[in-house]
Symmetry: C2
Subunit: 287 residues, 2 copies
């Protein structure tokens, strides 16, 4: 039976704890969160067994240590657990960017630890905090593992098994490939949604606009209710990919603006139709 | 008991027919759609009583004639019903833009008919066609009426009553104000969603991107599955407002890009936080 340590008890860390406990795959769950209130809530809600006073103490005697912190806190969290980590413990993470995480671990451990497994569960909601944690959050969702050159195969298999045990579908890919893909499917859309709502707040008729919003607006802007801290971290950690795509998106919008100004309406309609066709074609694959 | 004519039997026209029939507020529903298949399906599904061979014949002997066509077909539809319209019949529409509709009606009737009532139900889905019509589509949703200078008060009250009878909440506002507001809450978001998906389709790794999309992507792009024809019409009919906002949106994105390039991360986070706060503040009002 696995002893689990969760460093950072938010939506993802809390949901993984809940999910693994539900499978009876873990015998003991310790957690550390710099926000004492989160850890206290975690105990109260039965998500964890022990709220450790430090990351090192949470990691002490754990078989698997999960870093579930905002992605820019990865190095800090890895440094903090380093002292408490058993020699055969597996270290893994849940970060939304993978190149930055591998770089951080390399720096902290002076080379990538073979028993570190980089992981990214493609699940979440716009909610934050352990109180929003759900045992079924990962069921039917994808988890991307990005194995590295010094990867220990047994550690990789263990982490794969943990995620599969909570109902996730595990895929493996290269970390750079991961970051390029998720910049497109997730990181840029968050920037665009925040930017759209922020632009509206700056309009003179902003107070009239929001009360007249409907279902399309609600869905389009849902991700703009996500944690600004977390998404700041993700965008910053993946800034090369995100800025590249943002530039392309600005270019696309400038093209559409030119089509409208030049009254090239049938070309505009073709763009709309091409987008719709692509979304409809891929919709069955979207989780 | 009201005899209803629906010109354009799609999602909105079909849903209004279904909803009014469910209230027993109409005794007879005739419809005309240039797509014979839609009208045939309307009969088959019990949405309408009669599929008329022309818009004029559908309008003939109707008490209320609803133009439920893509907004750029308003003038054509209004011209077509003109010949069949009884002197005391009420003419109304469901268009997503209101200034263009009032201009079209002015042109067709050589001045705005007092018994024309401009209306815009804030409801819909990304689905199209009479088969997607639902009797409860408008329940709890807003309908905006934009009364004009020559407006007949009784016609306005009748149209208000029809919408209220199907569970909608009716508000009145100026047509220009309407177009500015809905450019922001609805028209621009559609352009942005189409533009985002279209940009992705043009990336080299497009085939890898879509299968890795999750729930955030699905919601953010849902409106990109809307009818390209319908949204082309709306954007074109409201091009002054939409291009103005699109320009502002491009400016906002250029500012964010500059913040990222200059590594002004705390300012980026402030923008994200401001957007989130605005969305959360107004969320209870969003339908």
């Amino acid at each position: 039976m696995t002893r689990l340590a969760v460093i950072g008890l938010g939506l993802i860390g809390g949901s993984l704890a809940r999910a693994l406990r539900a499978t009876h795959g873990v015998s003991h769950i310790a957690a550390y969160d710099p926000d004492r209130e989160q850890a206290r809530r975690g105990i109260e809600l039965g998500v964890i067994d022990v709220a450790a006073p430090s990351a090192a103490e949470a990691a002490h005697r754990a078989d698997v240590v999960v870093l579930a912190v905002p992605v820019l806190h990865t190095a800090e969290a890895a440094s903090a657990v380093k002292a408490g980590l058993a020699p055969d413990a597996i270290l893994t993470d849940v970060g939304s960017t993978k190149v930055s995480v591998l770089e951080d671990l390399t720096r902290v451990f002076d080379g990538l630890p073979p028993r570190f497994v980089a992981a990214h569960p493609i699940a979440g909601t716009e909610k934050s905090g352990v109180a929003a944690a759900r045992a079924d959050l990962f069921r039917g969702h994808r988890v991307v593992l990005t194995p590295h050159a010094s990867q220990d195969a047994q550690a990789l298999a263990t982490v794969r098994g943990l995620w599969e045990s909570v109902g996730a579908r595990v895929v493996e890919m290269d970390a750079h490939c991961h970051d390029a893909i998720f910049a497109a499917t997730s990181h840029l859309p968050h920037v665009l949604a925040y930017a759209f709502v922020d632009m509206l707040t700056r309009l003179d008729n902003a107070a009239d606009i929001f009360p007249n919003a409907g279902g399309g607006f609600r869905d389009f802007t849902r991700i703009a209710s996500s944690s600004p801290e977390m998404w700041h971290d993700i965008v910053r950690a993946n800034r090369v990919e995100v800025t590249g795509l943002l530039e392309r998106q600005i270019g696309e919008l400038q093209e559409l603006l030119a089509l409208m100004r030049d009254e090239r309406w049938s070309e505009l309609k073709q763009r709309f139709a091409r987008a719709r066709a692509a979304r409809e074609r891929y919709l069955p694959h979207i989780e």
